[in-house]
């Protein structure tokens, strides 16, 4: 499509983590993109905790990076400290996390997005979609401006009919201090989209100078940090500490006394909150036998005067927040820059989407991020990336990118979204991935490279960096098939000259890859590969070998499921009159409209009996 003032290939609505990834990748692939945001100053804003990555999320950031996304690269520049979580609990669940300088991060995003030639930033609010024979034709802004486009990626997050709760106060808003959007939800509902309501919360921000830092405990990151991006060269980030304090009985007493002033307990909030991120009210009430809870004091940026009190998410009235916090010695004189609050917002139950993130009923309309009921920057960015790629493919009429559950956490994320009921904000967990052993942070490049190449998601420089890594991986694997003597292995005190392939010895739990004789690896590493990367690939190959039995089990299972995953079900398939199908199954399947038999099997409440019935009727 030719670019003119009000004519674009793709309109991205919203400039959060989903929106910027969608806009960036589509522009990279050659689309002309209009990014419509109410506040261009808030591009890529980290509205909640000042951290990126974490359990399961760290793996996702690596995947985003391997697929040409931005998040990992910016996080590596704006990181304040890095930590590998779960380091002692099994290689496949190692998860990188970093504290992030929010301001630096936002600035990086803004600079990058503004500098991209194919992206036009438009300040405004989309209130209406234009339809052209059940395909998307354009959008209408509040001021009446019409933008013609082939595809829209909707990523307006908590801005959909948001209501902020602080104690009994209710403020219609998006995020704190930002106006909320009324209009697009109503319009989409009129078009037939279903909405539901969710809730989430955030803790108070405290003034740095009001905290007695001598009464806190510093926590540092790793001394050998791992970056998020495969493109990060020699990596030497700062190691700024976070600090911890503990709550105590006096704090809990105040919270319990005032618990009926929390809107969740008073019944003011109807949305469902995330169980994995409970408010301090919840923690104190439900785990009353715990004498204290750990709080993390996280600087929001370098030398920040604003401190994020992680672990104290609350919607109690501001004075109760302050009074209870003051019972913690370090907080004796605490001043809040902003109280904690709960926010209720609309989302569109994502069973209305295909695995491409395109809506099932309107061609060219894609949803990504919090509008789909997810929580977290990483989940949003991952969806934005996929929606951006697929919006481009939609306009180009080329094959969309659908990652499978076996390929990536992103595949698990989207498959879960389109098949499962969203009862609370969806957050990724490693246990959601049935093939977890295959989905390591350290092999994201390897497992996703064929996709990034096929869909053209990486620059030539990026491709060669990843190719070097993959080549090195192959060389290490080859070297390990060479024969060595058991007595040549370092740190192992066995006087035994037994010989055998190195990879056989490596399967023993007590033998580590770095204990193998150095001369085994007789190739030279390309100078382009930084030392953290070399180290990481060695450890990943070690995991492959140590886990080989389990990897094989996963692969066998994948092979078994392949048939079901490839059996397609028509979008308009009529379940309502299918004999033998339970009433619940008819409702659920009509609602979700699974794309494959594999998806149908994962819809909650569907029994094997239902599946047998389906198979007979659909594939006879």
């Amino acid at each position: 499509m030719k670019q003119s003032k009000n004519q674009f290939d793709i309109v991205v609505v919203g400039g959060g983590h989903a929106g910027i990834e969608a806009a960036h990748i589509a522009a990279f692939k050659g689309s002309h993109v209009a990014l419509v945001t109410m506040d261009p100053g808030a591009l890529g804003r980290m509205s909640c905790n000042p951290a990126i990555g974490g359990l399961a999320k760290g793996q996702m950031v690596r995947e985003i990076d391997a697929l040409g996304g931005l998040m990992g690269r910016f996080a590596d520049i704006a990181g304040l400290q890095y930590k590998m979580l779960n380091r002692s609990k099994g290689r496949s669940v190692w998860s990188p996390r970093a504290q992030i300088d929010k301001r630096n991060y936002e600035a990086l995003v803004r600079r990058t997005i503004i500098s991209i030639e194919n992206i036009t930033i438009i300040t405004g609010e989309v209130v209406e979609l234009l339809e052209r024979s059940s395909r998307l034709g354009g959008v209408v802004l509040r001021d009446g401006t019409i933008i013609i486009c082939g595809a829209v990626v909707l990523t307006c997050g908590t801005f959909l009919s948001g209501i902020v709760h602080v104690g009994g106060r209710k403020i219609p808003a998006g995020r704190m201090g930002e106006p909320r959007s009324v209009g697009i939800t109503e319009h989409l509902v009129k078009m037939g989209f279903k909405t539901a309501r969710l809730k989430t919360g955030t803790p108070p921000r405290a003034l740095c100078s009001s905290i007695d830092w001598t009464k806190t405990r510093p926590v540092y990151g790793d001394i050998d940090p791992s970056p998020f991006s495969f493109q990060s060269g020699s990596f030497n980030p700062p190691n700024e500490p976070c600090y911890t304090v503990r709550t105590n009985a006096s704090v809990h007493d105040i919270i319990i006394e005032n618990i009926d002033r929390s809107p969740m307990y008073s019944g003011d909030i109807f949305g469902t909150g995330p169980r994995y991120c409970p408010s301090i009210e919840d923690k104190v009430k439900r785990f009353y036998d715990q004498p204290s809870h750990l709080l993390f004091l996280e600087p929001e940026w370098k030398n920040s005067d604003q401190i994020y009190i992680n672990g104290f998410s609350t919607s109690l009235p501001e004075e109760i927040q302050i009074n209870s916090l003051k019972k913690i010695p370090a907080f004796k004189n605490i001043e809040l820059l902003r109280p904690g609050y709960a926010i209720e917002y609309d989302f569109f139950p994502p069973s209305q989407l295909k695995s491409t993130l395109e809506t099932k009923d309107m061609g060219g309309l894609f949803f990504a991020g919090q509008v789909n009921g997810t929580s977290g920057y990483e989940e949003a960015a991952a969806q934005g990336l996929i929606a951006g790629i697929n919006a481009h493919c939609y306009n180009d009429d080329t094959k969309p990118l659908i990652l499978k559950r076996k390929d990536a956490y992103i595949g698990v994320l989207i498959d879960d979204l389109v098949t499962k009921d969203t009862l609370e904000p969806y957050r990724m967990f490693t246990s959601r991935a049935e093939y977890r052993i295959l989905l390591r942070y350290s092999n994201a490049d390897d497992r996703l490279f064929s996709f990034s190449k096929t869909w053209g998601l990486l620059s030539d420089v990026d491709i060669s960096t990843i190719e070097d890594r993959i080549k090195m991986r192959g060389q290490i694997r080859d070297s390990l098939s060479k024969s060595i003597s058991l007595s040549d292995i370092k740190n192992i005190h066995i006087d035994n000259n037994q010989r055998g392939p190195a990879n056989t010895f490596l399967k023993r739990p007590e033998i580590k890859i770095f204990d193998l004789p150095d001369d085994l690896f007789s190739f030279s590493f390309p100078s382009s590969i930084p030392s953290w990367s070399i180290n990481e690939v060695f450890l990943d190959v070690e995991s492959e070998i140590k886990y080989s039995g389990y990897i094989k089990r996963h692969r066998d299972e994948i092979e078994k499921q392949k048939k079901n995953e490839s059996l397609k079900i028509l979008n308009n398939f009529e379940y309502s009159n299918l004999p033998g199908l339970s009433l619940e199954a008819r409702e659920k399947l009509t609602n979700v409209r699974p794309e494959t038999l594999g998806q149908a099997m994962r819809v909650s409440g569907i029994t094997p009996a239902d599946i047998s019935v389906l198979m007979v009727h659909i594939f006879r």
């Binding site: 099994g90 669940v93 490693t430 977890r436 052993i437 389990y550 004999p579 009996a609």
Partner: protein
């Protein structure tokens, strides 16, 4: 794949073919009631659900076929979950044939094997384990087996399996908590201890079901008992004495029995196949050599062996098949001097003293056999595994639990792998509980059903 979920109506004779007091013809599907009205010439409102109605049956040209009792079970409160009608007519092949013909002409079709139970399963009336036991119940060879299968049909095994699953899911949740929620790099000792404890309980349940398999199989398939011994110790004579007829040829010549012979009968309600074998000795005779080979391979198939010998030649045979439960018996006590016999009987060493020829000690031997094979006093589980598929699944489940226990007990921190093992254990149970079954397993099960059920 067979096209088994039909919207149409099928019927079949639910009783075996042949002459009997009554025969039952059963139909299932939406046309049931219409067909019933047609062949009884009754109005719909006269057919009261779940009431036995005495009525005449008419053929399509209006002739009376028989006087019968009919019962109508409207959906969904029926065996299959669809409309069901049962017709109890007089047990003559001619009558059954005429009724069938009438139903065919009314647009019904003959059911495929296992179709009634298949529909019961598909309509959620039975779970997979229950559906399996329907076939077992019908094919049960003994009273005990029938009881056992009916208990499975009532869901006892399913409950037990769910109990194991519950323990596994509990243990898994603890492991997953560590991996997914706790950001601490210290594994809390309490959690490790508790998940280990849960796994051990699961393992114990699993183990007791696995041991129940042999017993379960015995009741369903019956037991194979072989009589072994040197030539001419009287194996065939004993064989005939036990089954109480002259089935095997006996003679004074050693090596009379060249081939194995078997006969089925029952001891204490348990189906037993008794096998007479060729005497074991070195021979140059080709036929006898083959006979001895067959004897040796018979040992591997048997659940119990009776080793027969004579007083002076204590058998040295048992060592070679020590894995199989064995009863030792000394034959031909009628040929022994009284003093020698009483001396032997004072130091029994586990043998029984019998005379196959004079039929002394035969009842004692039968008692001993019954004692050896009757595990019921030992097994308090009351729930048994009866099919190879159940056994394999539990075995696999147990292996996975073992792996997880070993990893945890060794102090290993690779919880991602521990989790894979526990999940696999759950998955092996799911195959039985019918939660993740593939269509090929289903078809396999349903193909094992006889027509009617």
């Amino acid at each position: 794949m067979p096209n088994y979920v039909k919207t149409d109506t099928y019927y079949s004779s639910a009783t075996p073919p042949g002459h009997s007091a009554i025969s039952i013809i059963r139909m299932s599907g939406p046309l049931c009631l219409k067909a019933l009205c047609k062949i009884t010439k009754k109005a719909r409102k006269k057919i009261i659900p779940r009431n036995a109605i005495l009525t005449k049956l008419y053929s399509n040209n209006g002739h009376v076929i028989d006087m019968a009792v009919v019962t109508y079970y409207p959906a969904p409160f029926s065996y299959t979950g669809k409309d069901v009608v049962e017709i109890s007519c007089h047990g003559s092949p001619v009558i059954v044939e005429s009724v069938s013909l009438s139903l065919l002409k009314l647009g019904l079709r003959l059911s495929t094997p296992g179709e009634f139970t298949r529909d019961a399963f598909l309509n959620g009336k039975l779970d997979l384990v229950q559906a399996e036991s329907v076939a077992r119940l019908i094919q049960s060879k003994s009273q005990r087996a029938a009881e056992m299968n009916s208990r499975i049909l009532q869901g006892d095994l399913t409950k037990k399996l769910f109990k194991i699953k519950e323990c596994l899911v509990d243990a898994l949740s603890m492991v997953e908590f560590e991996l997914d929620i706790s950001e601490e790099d210290i594994f809390r000792r309490g959690i490790k201890k508790h998940s280990l404890a849960k796994l051990k309980i699961a393992k114990e349940y699993c183990g007791s079901l696995i041991t129940s398999y042999n017993e379960g199989r015995m009741y369903n398939k019956g037991l194979r008992i072989a009589i072994l011994g040197r030539p001419n110790v009287g194996k065939s004579t004993l064989f005939n004495a036990i089954i109480e007829r002259d089935r095997a040829i006996t003679s004074k010549e050693p090596g009379t029995t060249r081939d194995t012979i078997d006969v089925s009968f029952s001891i204490g309600g348990i189906p037993v196949t008794l096998v007479d074998t060729a005497g074991i000795r070195e021979s140059t005779d080709e036929i006898e050599k083959t006979g001895v080979e067959r004897t040796m391979s018979e040992i591997k198939r048997c659940d119990l062996i009776v080793v027969l010998s004579e007083a002076d030649t204590e058998s040295e045979l048992q060592d070679s098949f020590s894995k199989v439960p064995t009863i030792k018996a000394i034959n031909k006590i009628d040929l022994l001097e009284k003093t020698k016999l009483s001396k032997l009987e004072r130091t029994p060493n586990g043998q029984l003293f019998i005379s196959a020829l004079k039929k002394t000690g035969i009842e004692k031997l039968k008692d001993e056999i019954y004692k050896k094979i009757n595990f019921s006093e030992k097994n308090t589980a009351d729930v048994f595994l009866t099919t190879q598929r159940q056994f394999n699944s539990l075995l696999e489940c147990g292996e996975n639990i073992d792996r997880a226990i070993n990893l945890l007990a060794r102090g290993s921190m690779v919880f991602d792998i521990v989790s894979v093992d526990i999940k696999s254990a759950v998955a092996s149970l799911d195959i039985l509980l019918g939660k993740t079954t593939a269509d090929d397993i289903l078809n396999n099960i349903f193909e094992n059903f006889c027509v009617g059920k």
